[in-house]
């Protein structure tokens, strides 16, 4: 297990609201775009050493909160079938910038396997966005 190479994914967004509003919204399952929002089954206890469980389309996700520092930072572990048994870490920071908040999400400790960084899954990202003729065009250019 220790031989698995891991990678880190960093995503940043500027949100038009204060850090407190954004922080609170991120932990609110009713807000679209939070990982908890689409859960078919959800258990969420966002306190240090509190756990979460959510499942979507039968895929379970588990984690333990390791930092809940309102309004600056939320950190928790993250395990799912896609982490191949590794306990990955999600660290989200909220920094005020003028009237906005710069939100930075770092998901580290992800297995860099064919399953994680697969061409097929990468393509799905675009296939969700593009109509069929784009796919046809890209295939013919191979």
């Amino acid at each position: 297990m220790n031989n698995i190479k891991t990678i880190e994914v960093t995503i940043e967004r500027r949100i038009p609201a204060s850090p407190v509003e954004v922080f609170d919204a991120w932990l609110n399952p009713k807000i679209p775009g939070t990982p908890w929002n689409m859960a078919e089954k959800l258990l969420l206890n966002p306190t240090v050493d509190g756990f979460f469980y959510w499942a979507v389309r039968g895929t379970p996700h588990y984690g333990r909160f390791t930092a809940v520092e309102r309004p600056g930072r939320i950190q928790h572990t993250w395990m799912s079938p896609n982490t191949s048994g590794l306990e990955s870490t999600v660290n989200v920071t909220f920094k005020g910038k003028g009237k906005d908040t710069v939100m930075t999400l770092v998901h580290s400790g992800l297995p860099d396997t064919d399953g994680g960084r697969s061409h097929e899954k990468g393509w799905n990202y675009f296939l969700d966005m593009f109509p069929a003729q784009f796919l046809d065009a890209s295939r013919t250019s191979k």
């Binding site: 991120w26 990982p35 896609n82 990468g122 799905n124």
Partner: protein
């Protein structure tokens, strides 16, 4: 062959929702500048900047046909990104786009 610098350019280009919307539009076929700019509530020079960004990344090309300049998608460059998009990168990008969209909607409805 694509270089790592080109990969960085393509990743930067697709990181912005407006540029992704432009790519989506061009996936339907070549378009004129005015057709691309029309759906956006943006100044024309802002659309020009986005197009330059996409052009620098090799994602679009311009072709003069008579009096018109048609802009079209070059999907080859996207395959480069697809090879590098981690499943969780896709997941979090979609989530945060949705999250940001919620706040923008809230802000518009407050006006």
């Amino acid at each position: 062959m694509f270089s790592m610098e080109q990969l960085t350019d393509v990743l930067s280009a697709v990181s912005h929702p407006t540029r992704r919307a432009i790519i989506r539009r061009l996936a339907n076929g070549p378009a004129r500048f005015s057709d691309i700019a029309e759906p956006f509530d943006l100044a024309l020079n802002a659309v020009t900047k986005h197009l330059k960004f996409l052009e620098r990344a090799g994602l679009i090309e311009r072709e003069k046909r008579g009096r018109e300049v048609l802009i079209s998608l070059r999907p080859e460059a996207l395959r480069l990104v697809a090879d590098w998009v981690h499943e969780y990168e896709r997941f979090w990008n979609e989530k945060l786009d949705e999250f940001e969209g919620y706040f923008k909607q809230q802000k518009r409805s407050k006006k």
